[in-house]
């Protein structure tokens, strides 16, 4: 393999790494929440919003993931599971905490056995607000964390009545 690397350097052939490809893989970790944010992320995969057209792909293996999406209320079992999943992800895999319960524990912060948000377990890169987080803000977050930014949250054009 080393000879191939040498040839590549001499003739400056753009290696596979430099190709900019629009395909990001998302791994969805759901704490034992009220299933609201979980249903909203699945709504993103369903025909209503369909993030597959934007190049995102849902995967079941954390080592493939570009983005680790954490939703729902985190308690003891979720903490063990989250740490185990986080250790399998790649070093430059970004973490997005979607929903008020995943960001700061929301309404149930301070309850017995409830962790106040995902940042008390793993380092989080982006927080998304909203109780039952809206699919628009999930798409905003995914687009922003993978580098292609959008018109964040500001309504464009006419607002429907």
């Amino acid at each position: 393999m080393r000879s191939v690397a040498k040839i590549k350097d001499r003739f400056k052939i753009p290696g596979l790494k430099s190709l900019k490809v629009n395909s990001n893989w998302v791994f969805h970790f759901d704490g034992s929440g009220c299933d609201g944010c979980n249903a909203e992320y699945i709504a993103c995969l369903s025909p209503g919003w369909d993030i597959e057209r934007l190049g995102f792909r849902n995967t079941g293996n954390p080592s493939y993931a570009d983005v680790l999406l954490v939703t729902g209320l985190l308690d003891e079992e979720a903490k063990r599971g989250l740490i185990e999943v986080y250790e399998q992800t790649r070093p430059d895999c970004k973490v997005v905490a979607a929903g008020v319960c995943a960001c700061t524990g929301g309404l149930f912060d301070g309850s017995k056995g409830i962790l106040s948000g995902a940042d008390s377990v793993i380092p989080v890169d982006l927080y998304v607000a909203g109780c039952a987080v809206r699919p628009e803000s999930i798409i905003d977050a995914l687009m922003e964390i993978t580098g292609n930014d959008t018109n964040k949250g500001t309504p464009e054009g006419e607002e429907t009545a």
Partner: protein, 329 residues
């Protein structure tokens, strides 16, 4: 109302612990987040219990608004269950069809109340704000589109030979077994037992909307799925009736500072009947809260079903709506 009736039910430890820190007004928001997709029903249950304990009668218009929003939230939850069932059968196109219909109903809820699933519209003593009449008219013809699509989905579930082969005769529950047990919702309606909390008219404007609960006689998974899709169509008609004869008037009545007394409220949810028991002794912080969700009461029926194999077990739990509600909040 002796307390021993509730010794068997398992209190929600965290819900009870929350009630020490939050007064009854804030607890309605916690009740709403017991299971997010069908949250509005739980907030109506909690508010009915609070109003009952404080002997407060809420205005008629608030009852109508609650009925409309409850039927809309039941429609989207039933469609979510059907999408999950079609997912288990690997029937992706039917599952995606249910998701698109659910998306349309969520848009209506978003226009009416500002939020998609957890509406925070129901407050003790009535409703937070009244529904905008023009948006209500627009959403009615949007509902017609959803109702037609629900008819095609019903046709697919009823006649598709492969779906019938996978669903018929699976997890059969006889009518006598259903009557004798604590199963409610599609589990009971699927086997011909027509119990429906909405008929008693304790909450909402169901007294003036005459309707017959949906029942099927098969008793198996196919009958339960048919009950779910026929309930979606029935909710559409109920909403149209409620919108037509919605009275005018105030939407909220005064609630006392503290709750003195106890009350049980039972609300019909897409998976069954949710029971809320509250008791307070004059202060804003309640003493006793008991919650028995639909999933729990349906759980005890699993050993009375026939023809349950390892392969279909996940399917049966979905049609009965057993593991839909995670109570440990």
């Amino acid at each position: 109302m002796n307390k021993s009736m509730f010794e068997t039910t398992e209190y929600t430890s965290r819900f009870l612990q929350l009630s020490e820190v939050k007064d009854y007004r804030q607890l309605v928001y916690a009740a709403e987040r017991m299971y997010g997709t069908g949250g509005f029903g739980n907030s109506v249950a909690m508010c009915t219990a609070l109003e009952g304990a404080a002997e407060v009668v809420i205005p008629e218009k608030a009852q109508y608004i609650r009925t409309i929003l409850m039927e809309l939230s039941m429609m989207q939850e039933n469609l979510l269950r059907l999408a999950a069932i079609a997912e288990t059968l690997n029937f992706d196109s039917l599952s995606m069809m249910c998701w698109t219909e659910r998306e349309k109903i969520l848009e209506i809820l978003d226009d009416l109340t500002g939020n998609r699933m957890i509406l925070s519209m129901c407050v003790p003593g009535g409703v937070r704000k009244s529904l905008d009449p023009e948006i209500l008219e627009e959403s009615l013809d949007e509902l017609n589109v959803v109702m037609q699509k629900a008819e095609t989905i019903k046709g697919i579930i009823a006649e598709d030979s492969m779906v019938k082969r996978r669903l018929r005769g699976v997890g059969v529950l006889a009518k006598e077994a259903a009557q004798g047990s604590s199963v409610t919702g599609p589990g009971a309606k699927g086997s011909g037992v027509d119990i429906d909390r909405r008929m008693l008219g304790e909450y909402g404007a169901y007294r003036n909307l005459d309707f017959v609960p949906v029942t099927e006689t098969g008793g198996d998974c196919l009958a339960r799925c048919m009950v779910k899709i026929r309930e979606v169509i029935q909710s559409g008609e109920l909403i149209r009736k409620a919108v037509e004869n919605m009275p005018e008037g105030s939407i909220r009545s005064e609630m006392p500072a503290g709750i003195n007394g106890e009350w049980i409220a039972k609300i019909e949810q897409p998976d069954g009947v949710d029971t809320f028991y509250i008791s307070g002794s004059g202060s804003a912080f309640l003493d006793e809260i008991g919650v028995r969700t639909a999933g729990e009461s349906n759980q005890k029926i699993m050993d009375r079903l026939e023809n349950v194999t390892l392969e279909n077990e996940a399917l049966i739990r979905l049609t009965l709506g057993i593991d839909s509600c995670l109570k440990e909040r």
